[in-house]
């Protein structure tokens, strides 16, 4: 244990402190404490990242350990790893859940992403949540979330990841349901928790299968040496014709799909927007929702070497989800929901990238992996920025609906410019960060699977379209009648916007492939100019259409809607997937199964028990006459008995 433990300890202590005595500290103190604590964590995380990536060495427990192996690949370092719970038994003597901290390229990168966005959200919330009831509670849950998310990414084993996975889930639940007096918020929180919990069940079973055969939870042992352990212990095993490894990994992926809102688990994320906007920026845009991508990346060697079919499956799920979500995003009118669907679509991009990726660094075979992590990084920054801008806008007009907005560039100049930068980034316009990462994803897809490439390129166009539709509807278009003149947000809110915009501008120039690769060996990316040109042209077309339709109010949107009438209605209602779920849960599970079981219990089982009691009662009621205490009756029975016996003796 050394200073790195503070990365987890500080947020956890903040959570306890603010949770227990937050009320006494008062909102101002709570906000300052929470933010200060997280600033320390951020500095630590940057220090770790700086030492690891640039100094190529990390001082752990007082010893400077090199971050690079002899062959030039990045090395995984562990600062501590203690046994939390012993699950050993006769067959698996070493099975135990450990809690530790693992530093390798992807976890260190995630540390930077999480602390940066979380710190920005902490600062931003001081302004945004000012005067809200439950301010202290809000900061306490933010700290809990930061703790859980950091613990998730530094997990040394899959069970530690599952533990923190559940904890981020609950902090997400608490933040979505933050306005607990609002029924819609409560409903959304429940939905988010139950849907992700449902997916977690698959994750758990996946872990159980994997650990049953490999006899360990440790990532190092599972992944090590091209997943040799999985190969020797599980290779060739089949269950009902399917490879057991593939089943286990598919189940684990489903867990990730739940958190990352992949189809068919995407339904919870749009509703999760009921939470306070800054927490949506942190949890439901930048960090928690990419946990599924991180999970697949974490187990990438196993997926690649032992279950290629599952990777292909992931790629198709990702491609479908990105298209599906992008189509819905084009039709929504609540600005946060547009962003939510855009998040789903962008995370799906990352999944696609992992799905089409190879492994080796040579000849850029493992480009997809790098691209996925890169997109995770850039997306976290620009999507958090978009959400925070949306927060500033909502703060100004007190509404989420596009119809209440328009011509806002006059009133919120900083928000306007930062939003525009983020829009360029997500649309994939150079030199903003999104262009680079998305371009690498498209290149990887192009080299692996043409269908997926075409789909993703089309989605890139759609992305540009719906983002600029959003942009023009908010900042241009017609000015509606405001209740009061909108005003720019306070400094505590605009500074985070500017910082994140700066990240968005420079994020594309980080030589990511030097640091993060599937094989842990750095390489240099060469840009494929053809693909880059195509994607920029597609994006520009999308932007052009959006400009044409939404810069000024005109009749074109209605005309286009009329052309795609049925399709538009379907997309607007999110293709009725929610209704399907509602039908299954309410009508079938609650309405039929639960009600039947409850009825069965009360009437059949309990009825049977009551019947037993009743029968006993009846029998004793009847037989109690026998012992009545009446001498005449006894005598009568006695005489009749004697007569009967005598009669029998005489005549037989």
């Amino acid at each position: 244990m050394d200073y790195t433990v503070l990365l987890l300890a500080i947020p956890f202590l903040m959570f306890l402190l603010l949770g227990l005595v937050g009320q006494k500290l008062g909102p101002k103190m709570a906000g300052i404490l929470g933010t200060a604590g997280l600033s320390v964590v951020t500095v630590l995380a940057y220090y770790v990242a700086y030492s690891y990536f640039l100094n190529k060495g990390l001082t752990l427990n007082g010893v400077l350990e090199s971050a690079v192996n002899g062959d030039g690949s990045w090395k995984a370092l562990t600062s501590f790893n203690f046994t939390w719970l012993d699950l050993s038994n006769a067959n698996r003597p070493d099975l135990r859940i450990e809690i530790g901290m693992l530093f390798d390229p992807i976890s260190v990168m995630m540390l930077v992403v999480i602390t940066t966005v979380s710190l920005m959200v902490h600062i931003y919330s001081i302004g945004y949540m000012h005067g809200e009831e439950g301010f202290e509670r809000y900061y306490s849950i933010l700290s809990l979330f930061s703790f859980a998310m950091l613990g998730l990414v530094v997990a040394t084993n899959i069970f530690q990841m599952y533990i923190f996975w559940e904890l981020v889930g609950v902090s997400s639940f608490l933040l979505i349901g933050f306005y607990y007096k609002k029924p819609s918020a409560v409903k959304a929180a429940k939905k988010a928790f139950i849907v992700t919990r449902f997916a977690d069940m698959f994750f758990l079973v996946g872990i159980l299968i994997l650990s049953y055969y490999t006899k360990t939870f440790s990532f190092e042992q599972i992944n090590g040496d091209h997943a040799a352990l999985v190969h020797t212990t599980m290779g060739g095993l089949t269950f009902m014709g399917c490879s057991v490894t593939a089943i286990a990994l598919t189940l684990i992926f489903l867990g990730g799909a739940g958190k990352s809102a992949m189809f068919p688990f995407q339904i919870w994320l749009p509703d999760a927007m009921e939470g306070p906007t800054p927490s949506s920026a942190l949890i439901h845009a930048a960090t928690m929702v990419v946990a599924g991508v991180y999970l697949v990346a974490r187990l990438f060697p196993v997926y690649f070497f032992e279950a290629t079919s599952v990777l292909t499956f992931i790629a198709y799920v990702g491609a479908f989800t990105s298209l599906f979500a992008a189509l819905i995003a084009c039709t929504q009118t609540d600005i946060k929901r547009v962003l939510a669907f855009s998040t789903i679509s962008q995370i799906a991009y990352m999944m696609v990238a992992l799905g089409v990726s190879g492994y080796a660094s040579a000849h850029e075979a493992g480009l997809g992996f790098t691209a996925s992590m890169w997109h995770l990084f850039t997306h976290a920054m620009f999507k958090a920025l978009l959400f925070m801008c949306a927060g500033a806008i909502i703060h100004a007009v007190h509404s989420n609906e596009m119809d209440d907005m328009g011509n806002m560039r006059k009133y919120l100049p900083i928000t306007h410019w930062t939003f525009l930068i983020a829009c360029f980034a997500i649309a994939g316009i150079p030199p903003f960060s999104g262009f680079f990462s998305k371009d690498e994803i498209l290149t990887a897809a192009f080299e692996s699977n043409m269908i997926i490439y075409v789909c993703q390129a089309f989605v890139a166009g759609l992305t540009a379209f719906y983002m600029f539709r959003l942009y023009f509807r908010i900042f241009w278009y017609n000015e509606p009648t405001f209740h009061h003149t909108p005003h720019e947000a306070p400094k505590s809110m605009t500074i985070p916007l500017i910082v994140l915009a700066a990240f968005t501008c420079v994020g594309g120039f980080i030589p990511f492939s030097e640091f993060i690769t599937a094989e842990s060996i750095g390489y240099e990316i060469e840009m494929n100019t053809t693909i880059a040109t195509i994607s920029v042209v597609v994006a520009l077309i999308g932007i052009a259409i959006a400009t044409f339709m939404y810069k000024k109010q005109n009749e074109w949107p209605d005309k286009v809607t009329a052309i795609f009438k049925n399709f538009y209605v379907w997309a607007y209602h999110r293709f009725y997937i929610d209704e399907v779920y509602l039908f299954i849960t309410n009508k079938i599970i609650f309405g039929i199964i639960c009600t039947f079981i409850a009825w069965f219990d009360r009437h059949i089982i309990d009825g049977f028990m009551n019947l037993l009691a009743w029968t006993t009662n009846l029998v004793s009621d009847e037989t109690k006459e026998v012992q009545s205490g009446s001498v005449q009756q006894y005598a009568w029975v006695f005489i009749m008995g004697v007569v009967t016996i005598v009669a029998l003796a005489l005549y037989l």
Partner: protein, 484 residues
């Protein structure tokens, strides 16, 4: 301690309460001392099956002894019981009717429970078992609410029915287990002799297992539980669900499975079906109940089903998980019943349709309820997660399709549990206030806070640092015995 209270006049309620509080605290202190001493002796290398042995001959000709002693499992159960007795005293602080008698019976129950967990003589154990059951009838019948006579009668009759099975089982063990002609009730000796013929085991194992299973709320013998809990006063529900139901699991393990391992092995499939059914059946039933206590009672059916289910997996991890689950379920269900009692005491309704927005009105109780709920649905950092995960990992040892099917079915309970817990939390605590009269209600007072916080500390303590407890349990010889 009973004697002290007995001597006090019934008018001095506050003194009675004080005596109870001090006494319960002393019990907890003793339990903690026993735990520490136990761990120290184990550390010092004392590897005997049971520590702190004491044997007094009771009835020579039948070889009945008062033999007591503890191993890691009993110590865990003692800790659990003492925590719940203490918090139960604080939770029934407001009991105004016949306070003295109430606490007397309450203590009687506690004596039975403690005696049961430390006995290693079958006869003594059975004696304490009955001592624990009888007060229940009076406690529910006199101090209960609702259909209390019906519930008390039903509960007592069903449990007595279980006892009848159990008694036959125990006598069977007594008569057929001797190796050298000397009949004995001593569990350690019977286990050591291991002389019971398998054909006799096959007869008496089901009797004993069902006998205890009734108390452990095993499907289909669980129906006493919802009615019983619904009518019982708060602290009685706490003690009943928290500790008394654990007697069932403990007995199944210590007597039925430990003494008749071959039969347990051969017949486990029947009971795996029953207990596996309990797990999901209880959870599904809980989803549509409207009475808070019914929800919790069905949830107990589900969680206690998991205890027996894990025991039947018969390997070290799963069995350790089962004991952990007993402790964990005991604590969280006691917390639930305590909180439900507190809420009911204010709103005079337990119907979730008539409540709403309680979080705003009584934030302390609300937060405690959320924590209890999260523990129940297995959130890491609270005790439920530790127990459930140990059980699932352990149960996964069996590779055959039958076991796998039931384990995965058991895993689905984590989702269903989330559904009914969040349903309650969403309806009762969140949302708008349903009843205008509720707005004037007050939050928890000091003795309620002590009860709730005490349980929460225990739950979080186990959830955050489970290793010592799980080691203490898994190092018991009885579990090692199954680690073939």
């Amino acid at each position: 301690m009973m004697a002290i209270i007995f001597c006090l006049g019934s008018e001095k309620k506050n003194i009675i309460r004080m005596v109870m509080a001090v006494g319960a605290l002393a019990i907890l202190g003793t339990a903690v001392y026993v735990t520490l001493d136990f761990l120290a002796q184990r550390e010092a290398g004392d590897a005997a099956d049971f520590l702190f042995r004491q044997d007094i001959v009771w009835y020579q000709s039948l070889n009945i002894n008062y033999s007591v002693g503890v191993d890691g499992i009993s110590v865990a159960m003692l800790l659990l019981s003492s925590v719940i007795v203490l918090t139960g005293v604080f939770a029934s602080w407001g009991m105004e009717i016949q306070t003295k008698e109430y606490f007397l019976w309450f203590l009687m129950l506690a004596i039975g429970v403690f005696g049961f967990f430390i006995s290693i003589d079958l006869f003594t154990m059975f004696l304490f078992y009955e001592v624990a059951l009888i007060p229940m009838y009076l406690l529910i019948g006199l101090w209960g609410t609702g259909r209390k006579e019906y519930s008390a009668m039903k509960l007592t009759l069903m449990l007595m029915g279980g006892s009848a099975f159990l008694m036959v089982g125990i006598f069977g063990i007594y008569y057929f287990s001797s190796a050298d002609g000397q009949l004995t009730f001593n569990i350690v000796e019977i286990a050591k002799n291991h002389a019971m013929p398998v054909d006799k085991q096959l007869i008496f194992f089901p009797l004993t297992f069902v006998g205890f299973g009734v108390l452990g709320a095993m499907f289909p013998f669980h129906t006493w539980s919802p009615d019983g809990h619904a009518s019982a006063p708060t602290a009685v529900s706490m003690l009943h669900a928290g500790v008394l139901m654990k007697l069932g699991g403990y007995g199944c393990f210590r007597i039925a499975m430990n003494l008749m391992p071959e039969a347990a092995d051969q017949l486990s499939w029947i009971f795996i079906i029953l207990t596996g059914t309990s797990v999901v059946y209880g959870a599904f039933s809980a989803c549509v109940q409207n009475d808070l206590k019914y929800i919790n009672a069905y949830s107990s059916v589900s969680h206690c089903g998991l205890v027996l289910f894990a025991l039947l997996m018969m390997n070290k991890t799963a069995m350790t998980g089962a004991i952990l689950q007993m402790v964990s379920h005991g604590l969280m269900t006691a917390l639930f019943f305590a909180l439900i009692g507190m809420i009911y005491g204010r709103t005079h309704t337990r119907d979730i349709r008539e409540m709403g927005g309680m979080m705003k009105i009584m934030p302390v109780l609300g937060v405690c309820y959320v924590i209890a709920g999260l523990a129940s649905l297995g959130l890491p950092g609270l005790s439920g997660f530790v127990a459930e995960m140990t059980i699932f990992v352990g149960s996964f040892e069996h590779t055959d399709l039958f076991h796998r099917f039931f384990v995965i079915m058991g895993c689905t309970s984590i989702v269903i549990t989330a559904v009914y817990i969040l349903r309650v939390v969403g309806k009762v605590l969140f949302g708008p206030v349903q009843d205008k009269h509720h707005e004037s209600l007050t939050d928890a007072v000091w003795h309620e806070k002590i009860a709730a916080f005490g349980l929460i500390i225990a739950i979080a303590g186990i959830g955050l640092a489970p290793l010592w407890l799980s080691d203490m349990i898994s190092n018991s010889s009885i579990i090692m015995h199954f680690m073939k």
